[in-house]
Each structure stands twice: as structure tokens, then as C-alpha cells.
């Protein structure tokens, strides 16, 4: 392929992915993402290697504390607080627990050397609770097994009626899917649409653009650029995914020791109940058309202005629908077949975010087929019309210097043959 738009695309793509900022963001993001997953697990596994030692002065003389890996209790005969404090300072004990004589009305006291020992407070509190419970079992003559039987969870299974009979409800995973898709689409249209705008503006401002359009058609320049940034975005996403996965893997967080991974597996099991093929198709469809829609308008804005501040007045109304959609995402998740959900998933400027949200809750359930098809058709028509109109703005805009164009000017450019 050696056509001219391909040359434009190649140069733009290579320039963007070789930029320091691209490399930096590509590397930092996975580290952040991985640390969200890894850090809590890592801390849980490694932070409490230490075993705390607690001195217990039991005035009631009727409690038994059970030692664990994390905490050990040592009964002491003395109630001499001065002596116990000195021993604490000498690191013989990490804390001192004073149990009252009257267990039913009295209050136990935990003595610490520092406020920062949050962990030990928690451990002692639960150990003390346990010891007290055992004391009460004995006192009221209750068998612990009996209580366990009483407190055993009442089982409730949520089922959904479908044509194939009742199946397990998967509303949890659907919410995750909806949110994940919407946020990703939001970032994609916002950040990379904005990048398309700046990329066009850069060439206009440094005046290289006249030389380029004397070699290629303006429309080839515009599409070359928009597509290049699409590929930059895809590259970045793929790298983020792969790097995050590699980091998590290399830190040795395997499935057994991570509750997160268990949750992920459960969610993956639940995905079986979602029409994931349709969801992926919808996501990719709106990903592509949404980017083309916003990317082309952002590029047109970039062509029409020559200072960043002038761009703001056009960018604000353009981003309004995206912001609107993301604000209403939450209510729509809880009511995916309401009026608001319907309209926002039909109107092309909000549908790229809202339709994938609704699709997460099932076609034929939250979304009717006719609504879905209507939304797709309207989106395709709008993208087609936008590409046509923005190409016209672009053609006039890139050679327009000096004053800031008005909306009237843009309209005139679109109407020109």
C-alpha cells in the first residue's frame, strides 16, 4: 500500500507511538492497574509475618484466649501496670490487656505504646470477643454447635425465567460489564478525539499543512490522521492489557491466594448467561462509529482554529453529549428499559455510550431488537453525514487563519460545493 493517505497514516502513527509521552503513559498505566489488583493481596500476604505478643491480666480468671499465627497471648500474674509498661518498652510484649473481674458489666482495657497499632487492636478485639462468647456459652449452658446451626445462612437463590427454564440471575456481572464498557468508550472518544484535534491543529499552526494539501487531497489528510490515531489508541489499549496481565502474572498472584482472582473467575462463569458475542459486537461497533463521529468533529474543530483557547468554545458543546451520557449511566444501569435509557440510546451522540450499557442487560429484555437496529442505523447515517460535513469544514478550515470562525462560517463552509 503506497497510496497517499496511507503515507499520512504511517507518519502520524509512528510519530505518535515514538513520542515520550506515549511510551510513558503506556508504561505507567499498567503499573497503576496492576497495583490496584496486586497491592491489597500483596499487603495481606506479606504485611503480617510478625506475631504479636499480648500480656493478659485476667482478673476474672475465667477466659481462655486461643493463639493464632498472628497473635499470642500470655497470662501474667501481676497487675502492676508500671512493671508491664516497662516490659512493653523492652519489647517483651506488644500490648497489655486487662480483663475485668466482672465480665458481664466490666470493661476490658488494652494498653498500647502507640496509636499506630491498628492491626493489633483489631486482633485483640476479635480474640476478646471470642473468649467472651465461649465464657457465655458456658454460663448460659448453650452448645456452640447449636448456635452455629441457628445462625447458618438461609439460602436464597435468585433465578430468572427464560424460555429455556429458570437460570441463575447475572445482574452483578451485567453491571460490571455495562460500567466497564461505558467508561472505556467514554475515555476513548474523549481522549483520542481530543488528540485528533490537537494533531490537526499542530500542522495548521506550524504551517506545514499547505505543503501537504498541495500533495494530497484534504480529505485524505483528514482520514489518514483520524485513522492513525485510531491505531494509536488500539495499540495503547492492547499494550495496557498485555502489560497489566504480565505484571500481575510475574508477581505470582495465582488463583489460590487471591480472592480477587476467585471473584474474577466467578464473574467469568456468570458471563455464560450474557450474550457476550452480541455485547462484543456492540462494543466494537460503537467503539468504531463513536470514535469516527467524535474524531471527525474534533478534527474539524482543529482545522478551523489556530489557537487552543479558540478551540474551547467549539469543544464544549461537542463534549456535552458524552458528559451527559456518562452522568446518566448510573440511573440507566438501574433502569435500563426506561424512557431516558431509550432516548439516550437512540440519539447518535449519546448512543455510543448508552447502547452498550443497555445491551449488557440483554437484548429482548432491556432493549428490543427494533430499538437496537434503529440505533445502529441512525449511528451509521450520522457518522456518514458527519464525515461528509467535517471534510468540508476541514477543507476550508485548514487555510483559514487570523480570526476565530463563527458557527455561521462553519455552516457556510459545509454548504459550499
Amino acid at each position: 500500500m503506497n497510496s497517499k493517505w496511507w503515507l499520512i497514516l504511517k507518519r502520524e502513527y509512528l510519530f505518535r507511538v515514538k513520542k515520550k509521552s506515549f511510551i510513558l503513559i503506556t508504561l505507567i498505566m499498567p503499573i497503576l492497574l496492576a497495583s490496584f489488583v496486586v497491592l491489597p493481596v500483596y499487603l495481606m500476604n506479606n504485611a503480617n509475618k510478625k506475631t504479636y505478643k499480648v500480656a493478659v491480666f485476667d482478673a476474672s480468671n475465667s477466659l481462655t484466649f486461643s493463639d493464632t499465627k498472628e497473635i499470642k497471648f500470655e497470662q501474667v500474674g501481676t497487675n502492676n501496670m508500671e512493671q508491664l509498661k516497662t516490659q512493653s518498652e523492652k519489647k517483651d510484649y506488644d500490648a497489655v490487656l486487662q480483663v475485668p473481674k466482672d465480665l458481664d458489666h466490666g470493661e476490658a482495657v488494652l494498653y498500647l505504646l502507640s496509636d499506630k497499632d491498628v492491626k493489633i487492636t483489631d486482633l485483640v478485639r476479635s480474640a476478646y470477643q471470642q473468649a467472651i462468647e465461649q465464657y457465655r456459652f458456658k454460663k448460659y449452658n448453650v452448645k456452640p454447635q447449636l448456635l452455629a446451626q441457628i445462625k447458618a445462612p438461609a439460602k436464597l437463590s435468585v433465578l430468572k425465567w427464560t424460555e429455556k427454564g429458570a437460570t441463575k440471575s447475572s445482574v452483578g456481572v451485567r453491571i460490571i460489564l455495562a460500567t466497564f464498557g461505558a467508561v472505556l468508550l467514554y475515555f476513548f472518544m474523549f481522549l483520542y478525539g481530543g488528540l485528533a484535534m490537537r494533531s490537526v491543529m499542530e500542522e495548521k499552526v506550524n504551517r506545514v499543512v499547505e505543503l501537504i494539501v498541495s500533495s494530497v487531497r484534504p480529505i485524505e489528510l483528514m482520514f489518514g490522521k483520524i485513522l492513525a490515531i485510531l491505531f494509536v489508541a488500539l495499540t495503547q489499549f492492547v499494550l495496557w492489557g498485555v502489560l497489566t496481565f504480565l505484571i500481575i502474572k510475574s508477581l505470582g498472584i495465582s488463583e489460590q491466594n487471591s480472592s480477587f482472582m476467585v471473584q474474577v473467575n466467578q464473574a467469568l462463569q456468570m458471563l455464560k448467561h450474557v450474550n457476550i458475542g452480541l455485547w462484543i459486537f456492540s462494543f466494537l461497533f460503537f467503539f468504531l462509529t463513536g470514535y469516527l463521529l467524535y474524531g471527525s468533529w474534533f478534527a474539524a474543530i482543529g482545522s478551523a482554529v489556530d489557537v487552543e483557547t479558540d478551540a474551547q468554545q467549539f469543544v464544549f458543546p461537542l463534549t456535552l453529549p458524552i458528559i451527559f451520557a456518562i452522568i446518566f449511566m448510573q440511573p440507566i444501569i438501574f433502569n435500563p428499559d426506561g424512557q431516558l435509557a431509550f432516548w439516550l440510546s437512540i440519539i447518535p451522540f449519546t448512543s455510543p455510550i448508552i447502547m452498550p450499557v443497555r445491551i449488557s442487560f440483554g437484548i429482548g429484555e432491556a432493549v428490543m431488537w427494533w430499538e437496537y437496529i434503529l440505533s445502529l442505523i441512525l449511528m451509521i447515517l450520522t457518522v456518514w453525514g458527519s464525515l461528509w460535513a467535517t471534510a468540508k469544514i476541514f477543507r476550508m478550515g485548514i487555510l483559514f487563519y487570523g480570526k476565530r470562525p463563527s458557527y455561521k462560517d462553519l455552516w457556510k463552509w459545509i454548504k459550499q460545493k
Binding site: L211, P218, L399
Partner: protein
Amino acid sequence: MSFIEVKDLKKSYDGHQALKGLSLCVEQGSIYGLLGPNGAGKTTFIRILNRIIVYDSGQIYFDGEPLEQKHINRIGYLPEERGLYRKMKVGEQIIYFAQLKGLTFGEAFRRTKKLMKKFDMLTWWNKKLEELSKGMQQKVQFLITIIHEPDLLIFDEPFSGFDPINQEMLKAEIQELNNKGTTILFSTHMMASVEEVCDSILLLNNGQKILEGPINDVKIQHKQNIFSIIYQNPDSHFVENDVFRIKEQKNNNYLIQVTSGAEPNSLLRYAMQFGEIRHFEEVLPSLNEIFIQSVQNSNLKTVEQ
């Protein structure tokens, strides 16, 4: 044979008519000057030739064929507002623009190497453009204009922004390309800069042609019957009469205005009686004078209408 032929070209923006039916012919292998004040429509015309903007009506022929997109690979264009990618390396950048003009990578690479060698720029190959001085950047820009060996070179205000050394290099190089058969189109409002190089000129004002033709014809058409006479002897003095008026005098150096249709020889015969003549010449107006006069006349006409 005409290389560029334009017939009744019209273009308006938003109610303002930038070109009001322009017709012109640029001969194959000539150097053509498109002159006119700012806002005359020069850049509009040049952008139309480069197919950057579309025109409303009229015809344009390029080397005998109606102008199409395929022809732009045969045009080299140096815009008035120049700019390149500041962060791109020089060699890479020249190759890129050559490819945009339709060369294959291999051919673009070979020619870039050859030209950079010729202009003694090979050491800049791996430097980013922003690391070069302004003069060096101008040389790179010029190289990009000619790298694809176009049949037509278009220069919009070529001498503005170039330092004197590069201006000379530019002129010499343009002359050399012209000798090889490249047709050259200059667009400028600085008459003096093109007077010595152009074969033909066209004067444009308010989107209309005011005058055109080979540069000497234009000058003769606008001559004002002024002659320069220099006497050998500092003491020789010209005495004016009704026909031969002194327009300017500096010692024995006279500018004589001939008022009626008298022949140059009769002036010479008349002048000889006052002393030995060392120098006798008809003074033709400079392009600048013709330009200013014609533009003023045409503006006056527009006002009267």
C-alpha cells in the same frame, strides 16, 4: 507551446470575488511573474493551480490536458507561509514529502541523498529540523520543493523570509532548473526581485488582469520618452526648449523629457551642440513604476465606475 492555459477563471468567497474571469498563458520553459498587490488574488490563483481549493467556473489546462489531481505530482510548490515538521529528522522529512509527491521510497531516498550532497547538507540527515538554523531550514524547504523534479515550479513570495545568501542560491538554482526546461511561476508583490529573471509578467489587481506580456514589451508600452544624456565635459550644459525639457539634472548628467512625438535622433542632434556626449540612452520605466501607475489607474477606474 503553452504549459498552463487559464480561461475565464472565477472564484468568490462569501460574496467577495477573488478572481473575476482571469485568463492567462504560461509558455513551456518560461519564467512567468504573477505580480500584484496583497489581496489581488495571486494566492487564490496559485492554490487553485495546486488543487488546494476549487474554483467556481472557467477552464485550466496543464500541459494540454484539463487540470486534474494526477497533475499535482508534476508541480513543485513553495507556499508563502512556510513550515515543516519541527520534530522530524531532515532526511526522513525530505523523503516523506517526496513520497507524498508520488515517488517510491527507494527513488525518494536516492534523490534526497543526491540533493543533500549537492547542497552540502549530508551531515544534517539525522538532525531534527528544530536543531537547524533558520537559513538551513529554508534550504531544506527549498529541497522539498524540487525533490520530485517537477515540470512546473510555483513560488509564492519566494524571496520573503530568505536571507540574502539563500536568496542568491535560490535564484541561481531556479535559473539552473529553468535551463533544464522547468517552467517557473513566481508570485510576488516585490517587483524588483523578479524584474531581472522573468520572461513574461502578468499584473493582477482586484482579481483582474491589468496588463500582461513579455517584460520588454510591457516596458516599451509604458515608456515615457525620457532619455539620459551624460556629457564628457563637466562644463557642458544642456539648454531646454519647448520639446526637450530637463526633468532632472546632476552636474553634467541630464534626464530629458521629450514632450511631442520627436525622434530620439533629433534629441541627440540637438544635444550635441552643447558638448561631447559620453552616454545616451532611453530610460525605460522600472516594473515598480509601471506597477504603481497601473494599479492606481485601475483603482481609479473602479472608483469611477
